[in-house]
Symmetry: C2
Subunit: 208 residues, 2 copies
DNA sequence: TAGATTGTTAATCGATTAACAATC
DNA sequence: TAGATTGTTAATCGATTAACAATC
């Protein structure tokens, strides 16, 4: 199976499996079956079977399932968490700082190599070993790193301009935390991270 | 149209429309049509037509579209952004602090009424007018507020325990930022906010 | 009027779920 | 062996897209 066929929903589920598998491994479990995972993660069995088949390089054994170790390895390879992708982050407000401060990105194959802001009070301060750089230096720094990912944690007013600068500076993908629809060339990948959308679903379900 | 029928994807799109409508309003536009929104947000026209019909209390006018003002009002009513729902937040690390610090929640009908941590260095400090309270006081404070939403920004190790305490303390919905699947009673609404999943999609698309 | 937009009904598409034979 | 689990094929479900008559 090649991952070209992975659907968006499947991709979304994969990290959940990985977390859970790691937890099971820690508690000493050596083999895992689709029905077990389905029960523990509240998913449909057939769904889990198909997801596992997609990432697994070899078949599972009837009545036994799969080796957790092998499955974890396959999952990491599938998600390409072993290959580091570099990113620059623009906007060191509280959200941007929190992202820059997060120690766990390397587990997901992400490395933030430079962080920028245009606030004089922030420029020069350090977050997680990274110095906040003035926004003017974005192009100069990108010319060195060629980071494929740009993380946008600026205000909605600034987001479109920043997006355009990142694209010009060579970013091929934008992880957008600002609540605006970014207009960029077709070839550019935009992943919107909308807390508002997420909250809308929560609220809707809460109110029946 | 009643919002009982709103699909998950429709809910996800709604805040995007609202942001865009507000932006158009600011730039002086008075009427908007489905084809215009579809073009500007890179969506299918029929999709937009159905989404607007779902939230609109009255019909659009052929050749004219809808009044932006009325549509914004309808959208806010639909998303219930005018009704404040209270929340307690557990875990004032960098992500939790960023969420507590965010000034815009009231625009989405959310009000964080209390924030908790068990780190002595954080307890007593102030974030956005809220004092970080010791975790032991969670039940006592919840007995006063009865906040329906619990925001979980603790480590994955602590998340399940915190979830259970929040449920016992009367939360009906959990907004979970920890990378674990929470096991809670069926009646409890869980909205997972997984950066890892989001990043997985971005990375996958980036690598072709 | 002509034509863009509306709402709605039908067709398509894709993901989830169910069913089942094969396996250890 | 019996029975749980596997992979796969078929059925179902729901969302998106296309088609079209009605409207101003």
């Amino acid at each position: 199976m090649s991952k070209e066929n992975a659907s968006k929903n499947q991709l979304l589920r994969m990290p959940t499996y990985l977390y859970h598998l790691k937890m099971l491994k820690e508690s000493g479990v050596e083999y895992v079956t689709a029905p077990k995972l389905a029960r523990e993660l509240d998913l449909n069995v057939e769904l889990v079977k198909k997801d596992l088949a997609l990432v697994s390089l070899d078949q599972g054994k009837p009545r036994v399932g799969r080796s957790i170790d092998v499955l974890i390895t396959d999952m990491i390879a599938f998600l390409e968490y072993d290959q580091i992708t570099e990113a620059v982050l623009i906007g060191c407000g509280s959200l941007g700082s929190a992202l820059a401060d997060y120690q766990g990105w390397s587990n997901f194959g992400l490395k933030i190599v430079a962080i920028f802001d245009n606030d004089m009070k922030l420029i020069g301060t350090k977050i997680n070993n990274l110095t906040v750089l003035p926004l003017e230096r974005l192009e100069e720094i990108q010319a060195i790193y060629h980071a494929p990912i740009g993380i946008i944690t600026v205000s909605k007013q600034a987001a479109q301009i920043i997006a355009e600068r990142l694209v010009k500076a060579g970013c091929r993908a934008l992880w957008n935390f600002a609540p605006v629809h970014l207009r960029v060339p077709k070839r550019i990948i935009v992943q919107d991270e909308s807390m508002a959308s997420s909250l809308a679903i929560l609220n809707h379900r809460l109110r029946q």
